[in-house]
């Protein structure tokens, strides 16, 4: 990579890099095999300590990269066929080391949190085995130095996501959600695999450091499909982006993420908010040069992101399940990241990914803390039975507030800096759709603040409404093992944004500078500072406006709450049923499949063809078995005779006939 000139590239094996992913792997395997039998009470010891070591090692690697080193080496050659060579290798550069620190730190804290959250669950050991296996695959994804290994991690995290969504597999809704997530991801991954094939077909290599310099070859390559000429970079970018749409739950493959909330809350926090779903953004940033080659690809990324973000924000306003609201908010924020990528500000997108991981994980874990407190209720996720929890759970109250302020973009908190950077870069983008993206972004910012604080006010203010649902149990603050991780993450949710304070506010934008060498970063040159201050004021105002609306409706005048649904019932129902996407997909894909299987397959194929074939084959088998059982003497020696007989027949064929 051209931009790596100022780095010293280490090409030999490095133990810390190897240990970072493999420690959780070993811990996971040991826990999975021996956990139930030998330490069912404390299966968390190995995964938590492995994750802690990984975290320390990633900090060490961070300092190594900061001092100007890049690790790029292959552990061994994995696949070698013709000129296809794929190794199991590692690449540690600013981009991956940043993801590394984020994944290991959050995973460690969420492991600790789960000690309290999952206590007493029959699958206690299984949970820790799966979640550290997930961490292993995520780290492999992040550390990969070629596309095939990225794909390995990609599928691996998909698998672990499946296992963890369906963790309570005896609940039908959970196992259905797991299947849905897996199947919808297949659609995206199919495109992703095609994209990898296309990269290899056109460029002849799968290593990042060889792909990037070779990209200019594709500049004027077109592929004829029918009567259309498709620009090959756009085609590859589109196929790869299909995978990103599946994994990062962008429209039209977004429907699995809200359902995935059936899994345990720490899983939602780690997998479906902080790490796995951001893999798509990570991939786009990793291959940003490819996307930048085609204007259409950039527009596709930007508009898919903007549409998803807008749609998810509107849906989140109407939902009552606390985790679903946060899930839709995740969708919306992921859309935000893609919007940033789509206007060419990849470093800023990654910055938002980084800050979002902390405050969204915090939001989820605080919600998990509330759910834990209300677990006696039939549906502890329902915000209608909450209320007034401020008194009962002060720590959760504070952490939820911090997360809410961060996501709403209140100055000083992490979300403010990253969101503001995205909006500024959208506004000053060289792409023509930048201004439009900026406008959408502002609208979404209002809605984001509104729905977050809607949940916040409903849960923590007013009177406690869940007395009947709890059968007389009082809600209580969670144990220390859960609140301490919450407090630590809330520090991250405040200060992670301070790493990248933009220059206009007197900061150094260190974060963006750090990533600039890998993903590039458009400078805001010749931009008037007053305009920038003005934009900043608008985005802050948008956040405050949303919070104010929420305060007005849910605290000051609760009567207003029913006003919206009663005035515009149709729109409300449209939003409440999630834009009817589930129903649409049901009628488009599920119903025809069922119809096809019931009528065509069941009636015609089954009765006529298959039944007769089966009965006939059974009869054939019976007669031939009666003949052949005479050969089957059960004597070991005779089996050797048969083997020898086979060899003799082959040799006769080989010598005399061929």
């Amino acid at each position: 990579m051209g931009a790596f000139q100022e780095f010293e590239i280490v090409r030999s094996f490095s133990l810390p890099v190897f240990l970072v992913p493999f420690l959780p792997f070993i811990a996971s395997i040991i826990t999975l095999i021996f956990g139930k039998r030998y330490f069912p009470e404390r299966p968390y010891i190995l995964p938590v300590s492995a994750l802690f070591l990984s975290f320390i090692l990633s900090l060490y690697l961070l300092f190594e990269v900061l001092s100007g080193k890049i690790y790029q080496f292959d552990l061994f050659t994995w696949i070698s066929a013709g000129n296809l060579k794929v190794g199991l290798g590692f690449l540690v550069d600013p981009l991956s080391v940043m993801m590394l620190c984020m994944v290991t730190s959050l995973s460690f804290l969420i492991h600790v949190y789960s000690i309290g959250y999952m206590k007493g669950d029959p699958g206690y050991y299984r949970f820790f085995a799966y979640i550290s296996l997930f961490t292993f695959f995520m780290l492999m994804l992040v550390l990969s130095n070629n596309l095939v290994q990225l794909y390995l991690g990609w599928e691996g995290v998909g698998l672990c996501s499946y296992l963890l969504i369906g963790f309570w597999y005896e609940k039908k809704r959970a196992s259905d959600a797991a299947k849905k997530a897996f199947i919808i991801n297949r659609v995206g991954d199919f495109g992703f695999a095609l994209g990898i094939f296309a990269v290899f077909y056109y460029l002849g290599t799968l290593y990042y450091d060889e792909i990037i310099p070779k990209l200019s070859v594709l500049k004027d390559v077109y592929l004829g499909i029918g009567s259309y000429e498709v620009h090959v970079p756009f085609l590859i970018a589109f196929l790869l982006f299909c995978g990103a749409m599946g994994k990062s739950a962008q429209f039209p493959l977004h429907t699995w993420l809200p359902d995935a909330m059936e899994g345990p809350t720490p899983v939602s926090a780690l997998i479906h908010a902080a790490t796995m779903v951001t893999a798509g953004v990570f991939m786009v940033a990793r291959l940003h040069a490819l996307f930048e080659m085609s204007e259409y690809a950039m527009a596709m990324v930007a508009f898919v992101g903007a549409f998803t973000s807008f749609m998810a924000a509107t849906i989140a306003i109407t939902q009552f399940d606390i985790k679903r609201v946060i899930a839709y908010s995740t969708l919306s924020q992921l859309g935000y990241m893609f919007m940033a990528c789509g206007v060419g500000a990849f470093a800023v997108g990654m910055f938002h990914l980084f800050t979002h991981a902390y405050f969204k994980a915090l939001l989820f874990l605080s919600a998990g803390s509330i759910i834990h407190a209300l677990h006696h209720a039939v549906d502890p996720n329902d915000i209608r039975i909450m209320g007034g929890l401020r008194k009962y759970m002060p720590i959760t109250f504070v952490t939820f507030l911090i997360a809410g302020l961060a996501i709403s973009g209140v100055p000083g908190f992490a979300g403010f800096f990253s969101k503001d950077e995205i909006l500024a870069h959208a506004f000053f983008s060289k792409y023509p759709w930048g201004k439009f993206i900026w406008l959408i972004g502002i609208i979404i910012a209002v809605m984001t603040a509104f729905y977050t604080f809607r949940v916040f006010f409903k849960a923590f203010f007013g009177e406690f409404r869940g007395r009947e649902a709890l059968h007389g149990h009082e809600p209580h603050e969670s144990p220390k093992v859960m609140t301490i991780p919450l407090i630590i993450i809330s520090i991250g949710a405040i200060f992670s944004g301070w790493l990248g304070i933009p220059e206009v506010l007197g900061g150094g934008a260190h974060f963006q500078k750090f990533l600039e060498k890998v993903v590039g970063h458009p400078e805001l040159v010749g931009v008037d500072h007053t305009v920038e201050y003005f934009l900043m004021a608008i985005s802050v105002l948008a956040g405050i406006l949303g919070i104010g609306f929420a305060y007005l409706i849910y605290v000051k005048k609760p009567a207003l709450e029913t006003l919206g649904p009663s005035k515009f019932p149709r729109i409300y129902r449209f939003l409440y049923r999630k834009w009817y996407f589930d129903e649409l997909y049901h009628y488009l894909f599920v119903v025809p499949t069922f119809w096809l299987s019931r009528t065509v397959v069941n009636l015609i194929l089954d009765t006529f063809i298959i039944d007769h074939t089966v009965n006939g084959s059974a009869r054939t088998t019976e007669t031939s078995a009666n003949l052949l059982r005479k050969v089957h003497t059960g004597l070991i020696n005779h089996y050797i005779w048969f083997i020898l007989f086979g060899i003799i027949i082959y040799l006769i064929y080989y010598i005399y006939i061929r």
Partner: protein, 178 residues
């Protein structure tokens, strides 16, 4: 006929005759002991082929471990004489015919195989006079075949665990007064 040939013939006889005796002996103890003779001769043969390391391994692993294990099991089972010697002789006709056909066919194909040998391309040329080929074996084992080497270790581990597990499970079954 020089000394090399003499040594080779001696070793070949020292391997085939004990082999035949091992296969036809009635007493398993004798069979195992004949195989021991075979293996010692084979170790010498490996030495003439220029590999002292494999000679040592052959003696240590085969003679020292595997055959001792066999002897141990034979004594443990305590079945000295095979009573069914006659069965062995009576039914051998078809088997022997098959083997003769097999040998005949192999001799036919062996010329193809022999023609291949000069075409083998040495990967790392070495001179036996210069250094022990142990160096080369080690170099190969720890670089090119490292994965396979580790896998062999895993296989041996699994064997140990499997043997222990099989016999332990049996005891459990017995305790349940099966």
């Amino acid at each position: 006929m020089d000394l090399n040939h003499l040594v080779f013939y001696y070793l070949a006889l020292g391997m085939t005759i004990p082999g035949i005796l091992a296969v036809i002996s009635r007493n398993p103890v004798h069979a195992v002991l004949w195989v021991l003779v075979l293996i010692l001769h084979q170790a010498l043969l490996l030495y003439t082929l220029g590999s002292e390391f494999l000679t040592a391994i052959q003696i240590i692993v085969y003679a020292g471990a595997v055959l001792v294990l066999f002897l141990f099991i034979v004594y443990m089972i305590n079945l000295r004489l095979e009573e069914r010697w006659k069965v062995f002789v009576r039914r051998s006709g078809i088997g022997l015919i098959l083997i003769f056909i097999f040998v005949f066919l192999l001799f036919k194909t062996i010329s193809v195989f022999l023609a291949l040998v000069p075409a083998f391309k040495p990967k790392l040329p070495y001179d036996l006079a210069q250094a022990s080929n142990l160096v080369w074996i080690a170099r190969y084992l720890f670089t090119h075949y490292l994965l396979q080497f580790e896998l062999i270790g895993v296989i041996l581990l699994i064997v140990v665990l499997g043997a222990v597990f099989i016999l332990k499970k049996l005891q459990e079954v017995k305790n349940d007064s099966f």
